[in-house]
C-alpha cells in the first residue's frame, strides 16, 4: 500500500481502510476454543488430503518422473501435439466463453425486462450439467440438424469441442460475472458519460476494468475446466481430438501404459499449478478492490439507440444457444421408432429392454449415483467447513498455505485423481481401491475446495467483535458458534453442500477409473450406452441424461434459494 509522504494530508486518517481492519483483526489473540477448532481442522484435513490426495498424486510423480520415462514421453512428437492442442483449445474456449458470458451477464445485470428471472435460470443450468449430459446434448443436436459433413459438424471436431465448452462454461462466467456486475454501482459509468465518454468508450475504459476481478476468477476457472475437460472431449471429440486428460485415461486404461500416463499427468499438473500461481498473483493484484460498494442498480440509463436492439438480440441468442441443446435432449429421450413415449424412461427404471442387446444396470446406476453423491456431499461439506476454518484463520501462517492447499484439488482433474488412487491404494495390506466407498471419497475431494471457498468467504464476514459481544453477553464457545457463526454461514453451507452434490453426481473422470462393471453410476452408464449402437440404447442414454440433469437441477435449486453469489471460486 502506498502511503503518501508528501502533500498536506499526513494527519490522522478520517476513514480507516480495510488494511487497518485486517491488521487490527490479526492482532487479536486466538482463544482456546479457536485454537482447538483450528488444530482439529488442521489434523483432519491434512490427514485426509495426505491419504486420498497427496499420496496418490505423489505416486504418479514417482511413476512418471524417471529420467528415461520423461525423455521417452516428452521426446515424442505426439506428446507435444497433444499438449499444444489441449492448451489452445482451452484458451480459445475460455476467450469465447468470456465474450459470450459478458454479453449475457450484461443483459441479466443491467436490463430489467419480463422473463429476466427465467433467463437467469436458463443461463445457470449448463453450469451444473454433468459433462456427459452436455456432450450428449450436442450429439443429438448434430443428428437432428444433420450437421455431419458440414463445416458445423460437432462430432469429432475441434469446433464441436469448443462450442460445447463454451456452452458449459458461459454459465460459469455469467454466474460469477453477473453476481459481481449487479453489485457495482453505475456511478463511475455515469461519471464517465458526464465527462465525455460515449457508450463504447465507457464500456472499455470503465466497465471492463471494474469487472477485472470477476473476469479473472471466471476466466481461470473456465481455463481449468476446459484444460482438464474429460467427458466432452471423450464423447464429442471421440478420441480424434485427444487432450492430455483423455490421453492419460487412454494410456492408463486401454494401453495399460502407466508410465506414459503418469508422465502426461505430471505435465498436466505442472500447467495447472502454473495456472493457479498466475491466478493467485492476479487475484492479489486486482483483488477485490471494489467489494463493499454494494448497491444493486437497475436503472434506466439514457436510452441509447441500440439499447433495445441489444436486449432483444441478446435474449434471443441466449435462449437459442443455451436452450436448444437441452430441449433437444428431452426430445430425443422421448422419441422412439414408434412415436413419442416414455418407453426409454420405463426401460431405465425397470432395467428391461426391447432390443436384443445386453441389459444395462440403469436402475442400479441411479441408486448408486444418488447414494454416493449424498455421501460425497456429507464428506465434502464437513471437510469443506474445516478447510474454511483454516482459510479464514486470522493467522496468515495458516490461511496462506491453506489457500494453496485447497485450491489444488479444485484444479486437479478427476482423471488424474482416479488414476492416482488406482495405482496407489492397492498395496497388499491396504487394498481399498476396489472398495465402493473410495468413489464418494474421490468425488468429495473434487468438491471440498469449492465448499471451502464458499464457506470461507462467509466466515471471513463474521466480525470477530460479534463473537466477543456474544461472549461478554454470557455465551459459551459452543453457543457463540451456534448463535453467531452458524446462522451467518448456514446459507453458504447449504450452497456448498448442493454444489458438492452436483459435482459428485455428474463426476465422470475419477469415477470412470474407480467404478467396477457391477457398480455403475449414471455418467459411466450413459457413456457405455452411447458406445453401443441401436435406437434403444441411444434413447436410454438420453433418458438417463434427462434424469441426471433433473437430479442436478433439483440439488442446485437449493443453491439458488440460498442466493449465494459465487464470486470467490477461483
Amino acid at each position: 500500500m502506498h502511503h503518501g509522504t508528501s502533500g498536506p494530508n499526513n494527519g490522522p486518517k478520517l476513514f480507516y481502510d480495510d488494511d487497518y481492519r485486517r491488521n487490527s483483526r490479526s492482532a487479536l489473540n486466538l482463544n482456546n476454543y479457536q485454537k482447538y477448532l483450528t488444530s482439529t481442522a488442521l489434523i483432519i484435513s491434512v490427514g485426509f488430503f495426505s491419504i486420498f490426495y497427496f499420496f496418490p498424486l505423489g505416486k504418479i510423480l514417482w511413476y512418471g518422473l524417471s529420467p528415461e520415462n520423461i525423455a521417452m514421453v516428452f521426446g515424442a512428437h505426439t506428446t507435444w501435439k497433444v499438449i499444444w492442442f489441449t492448451l489452445w483449445q482451452a484458451l480459445i474456449s475460455t476467450a469465447v466463453s468470456l465474450c459470450v458470458g459478458i454479453l449475457i451477464a450484461n443483459i441479466l445485470s443491467r436490463f430489467s425486462f419480463r422473463g429476466r428471472g427465467a433467463l437467469s435460470v436458463l443461463a445457470t443450468i449448463p453450469f451444473v450439467m454433468p459433462t456427459v449430459v452436455v456432450a450428449s446434448a450436442f450429439l443429438s443436436l448434430n443428428t437432428i440438424f444433420k450437421l455431419e459433413g458440414t463445416v458445423f459438424n460437432l462430432e469429432g471436431t475441434v469446433f464441436g469441442v469448443i462450442v460445447a465448452h463454451v456452452f458449459f462454461n458461459t454459465a460459469i462466467v455469467v454466474r460469477t460475472l453477473g453476481g459481481w456486475w449487479g453489485q457495482l454501482t453505475l456511478d463511475p459509468e455515469y461519471a464517465a458519460r458526464t465527462l465525455g465518454a460515449g457508450t463504447v468508450k465507457t464500456f472499455f475504459l470503465v466497465t471492463l476494468p471494474r469487472l477485472k476481478p470477476a473476469l479473472i476468477a471466471s476466466g481461470s476457472l473456465t481455463f481449468l475446466f476446459t484444460f482438464t475437460s474429460f467427458g466432452i472431449i471423450l464423447i464429442l471429440g471421440s478420441l480424434k481430438q485427444a487432450t492430455i486428460e483423455t490421453e492419460i485415461w487412454r494410456y492408463a486404461t486401454q494401453r495399460i501404459d502407466i508410465n506414459t500416463a503418469a508422465a502426461l499427468g505430471i505435465a498436466q499438473l505442472a500447467i495447472v499449478v502454473l495456472m493457479l500461481v498466475i491466478n493467485s498473483r492476479l487475484r492479489n493484484k486486482y483483488g477485490t478492490s471494489e467489494l463493499g460498494s454494494i448497491a444493486v442498480t437497475d436503472e434506466k440509463v439514457y436510452a441509447t439507440k441500440f439499447r433495445s436492439l441489444r436486449l432483444y438480440s441478446g435474449v434471443i441468442f441466449t435462449v437459442l444457444f443455451l436452450g436448444t441443446p437441452l430441449v433437444l435432449l428431452i426430445e430425443r429421450s422421448l422419441r422412439t421408432p414408434k412415436g413419442y413415449s416414455f418407453t426409454y424412461y420405463r426401460e431405465i427404471f425397470t432395467e428391461s429392454q426391447s432390443g436384443r442387446f445386453s441389459i444395462f444396470e440403469t436402475r442400479t446406476a441411479i441408486i448408486n449415483s444418488i447414494t454416493w453423491a449424498l455421501l460425497a456431499m456429507v464428506i465434502a461439506t464437513l471437510l469443506g467447513y474445516l478447510a474454511a476454518v483454516l482459510l479464514s484463520s486470522p493467522s496468515a501462517k495458516i490461511s496462506k498455505p491453506a489457500d494453496v492447499l485447497f485450491l489444488l484439488p479444485l484444479g486437479t482433474s478427476g482423471v488424474l485423481l482416479g488414476f492416482g488412487i488406482i495405482v496407489t491404494l492397492n498395496s497388499s495390506f491396504w487394498d481399498i481401491r476396489s472398495n465402493w466407498w473410495i468413489i464418494p471419497i474421490a468425488q468429495a475431494i473434487l468438491g471440498i475446495g469449492l465448499v471451502a471457498r464458499i464457506v470461507g468467504t462467509a466466515l471471513r464476514d463474521v466480525n470477530p467483535e460479534m463473537r466477543n459481544a456474544a461472549k461478554v453477553l454470557g455465551a459459551s464457545d459452543a453457543k457463540v458458534w451456534r448463535h453467531v457463526d452458524l446462522p451467518i454461514i448456514s446459507r453458504s453451507l447449504v450452497a456448498g453442500a448442493s454444489f458438492s452434490f452436483a459435482i459428485a453426481i455428474g463426476e465422470f473422470g475419477a469415477t470412470a477409473f474407480l467404478v467396477r462393471p457391477q457398480r455403475p453410476t449414471i455418467p459411466t452408464t450413459i457413456f457405455n450406452l452411447l458406445g453401443r449402437p441401436g435406437a434403444s440404447t441411444y434413447g436410454q442414454a438420453m433418458a438417463l441424461c434427462v434424469v441426471l440433469a433433473g437430479i442436478t437441477a433439483i440439488s442446485i435449486s437449493l443453491l439458488d434459494r440460498t442466493g449465494t453469489v459465487i464470486r470467490d471460486t477461483a
Binding site: D17, T194, Y302
Partner: protein, 344 residues
C-alpha cells in the same frame, strides 16, 4: 421565463419503468449562482440531476444551456459536470488519471492535459497527489479528487448530488465553502442537492424545494425563511413548532385553538392547514402557560428548549437563559404571531 445565459429547465417530466418520477419541473440558474434542491429522501432530487445531465431520458420538457437546447444531446456531449454522492471515482485509475479522464475524452494528449491536472489538484488542495491510488485516499481526499475531476473539462454547469454526505461536519463545511468559491470564481452554474437545511444555507443563493417529484417552492434563503408557505418546507428548514390543528367554524368564521387562545383564519378555509409558531415569537412571561422543559440544545450561545404543555402540546422556545431539563417555566405568545401554512 426570461432567456438568459445559464441553465434553464422547463416543464420537465421523467418516468422510470412507467412510474412518473418528475412532474413539470422548471428551474433556472444563472452563471455564478448556486441553487440548492432541498427535499426529503425519495422526492426525485437525484433523478432530476440525472435527467439534467442526460443520463435519464425525459418524457417532455426542455433543458437548455446558454439558450441552446440540450434535450437531444447525449450525456457525454452535454458538457455538464456531475459530482456523485459516493464520489464514483474510477478505482482502477490513480488520482491523476481520474482527473485527466474528461480531458482525454476531449481528445487531449498527455502533454496537453498534464498542466491542467496539476492545476486542478492545486485548486482542491491536493498538490502532489498525482500518483496516489484511489484506495489510499481518505473520504475527504476522495471527494476533492472527484471535484477536480468534474472541474477539469471546464464544464459550464456543475451538479452536486449530496457530495459531502459521508463526511464529518467540520470537513463538510470546509469543502462546501471551497466549492462555493470555485463555482463563483469560474462563473459556473451550480445545482446542489441536499436534505440538510444548514448545508443549503451555507452554499446556496437560491433554494428550490422538491416534494414528490415537483418543485413546490423556490426563492432566496430569506424569502423561504420569511414565508415557508408549506408545512413540509417549515419542517425541512427546522421550524419545529408546527402542527396540524383541528378547524372549527362559528358564524361563518373558521378558527382553531392555540394554547394562547383562538386564532381565526383570514379567509374561510375548509382544507386542512398547518399552524406554525416560531421560537423567537414565544417569550417567558410569568402569567403565561406552564410548560416543562424536555430537551435543550445550544446554538451560538443561545438555548433552544423543547417544552411540553400540560395538554401534551410541544413548543420550541429560544432564550439566553440556562434551565435544566424537567424545570417548569411559563411561556407566552401572541395569537397574531401564529402563522398558517398549507399542507400538501
Amino acid at each position: 421565463m426570461t432567456l438568459h445565459n445559464g441553465l434553464i429547465i422547463e416543464n420537465l417530466d421523467v418516468s422510470i419503468d412507467l412510474h412518473k418520477i418528475l412532474h413539470d419541473v422548471s428551474i433556472d440558474v444563472k452563471p455564478g449562482t448556486i441553487t440548492t434542491l432541498l427535499g426529503p429522501s425519495g422526492c426525485g432530487k437525484s433523478t432530476l440531476l440525472k435527467a439534467i445531465v442526460g443520463l435519464l431520458s425525459t418524457d417532455k420538457g426542455d433543458v437548455s444551456l446558454n439558450t441552446k437546447s440540450l434535450i437531444s444531446t447525449p450525456a457525454h456531449k452535454r458538457g455538464i459536470g456531475l459530482m456523485f454522492q459516493n464520489n464514483a471515482l474510477f478505482p482502477h485509475k490513480n488520482v491523476e488519471r481520474n482527473v485527466a479522464f474528461g480531458l482525454q475524452m476531449q481528445g487531449k494528449r498527455p502533454e496537453e492535459y498534464e498542466e491542467k491536472v496539476t492545476e486542478m489538484l492545486d485548486l482542491v488542495g491536493l498538490s502532489g497527489f498525482n500518483k496516489r491510488e484511489i484506495g489510499t485516499l481518505s473520504g475527504g481526499e476522495s471527494q476533492r479528487v472527484a471535484l477536480a475531476r468534474a472541474l477539469a473539462p471546464s464544464p459550464k454547469v456543475l451538479l452536486l448530488d449530496e457530495p459531502f454526505n459521508s463526511l464529518d461536519r467540520s470537513l463538510r463545511t470546509v469543502l462546501l465553502d471551497e466549492v462555493r468559491d470555485v463555482l463563483k470564481t469560474l462563473d459556473i452554474v451550480g445545482i446542489h442537492v441536499t436534505h440538510d437545511w444548514d448545508e443549503a444555507t451555507r452554499i446556496a443563493d437560491n433554494i428550490a424545494f422538491m416534494n414528490q417529484g415537483q418543485i413546490i417552492r423556490t426563492g432566496s434563503i430569506e424569502e423561504i425563511i420569511e414565508k415557508p408557505k408549506y408545512s413540509i418546507v417549515a419542517d425541512l428548514i427546522g421550524l419545529e413548532s408546527c402542527w396540524t390543528p383541528e378547524l372549527f367554524e362559528s358564524g361563518g368564521i373558521t378558527y382553531f385553538d392555540t394554547p394562547w387562545g383562538r386564532r381565526e383564519l383570514d379567509t374561510p378555509n375548509s382544507e386542512s392547514i398547518a399552524a406554525l409558531i416560531r421560537p423567537e415569537n414565544i417569550y417567558e412571561k410569568p402569567d403565561g402557560i406552564d410548560v416543562e422543559i424536555q430537551t435543550k440544545v445550544s446554538v451560538y450561545g443561545e438555548w433552544i428548549y423543547k417544552c411540553r404543555l400540560e395538554t401534551g402540546f410541544i413548543v420550541s422556545v429560544k432564550t439566553m437563559k440556562n434551565y435544566s431539563i424537567g424545570e417548569k417555566i411559563s411561556l407566552y405568545a401572541s395569537v397574531e404571531n401564529v402563522e398558517t401554512l398549507e399542507v400538501l
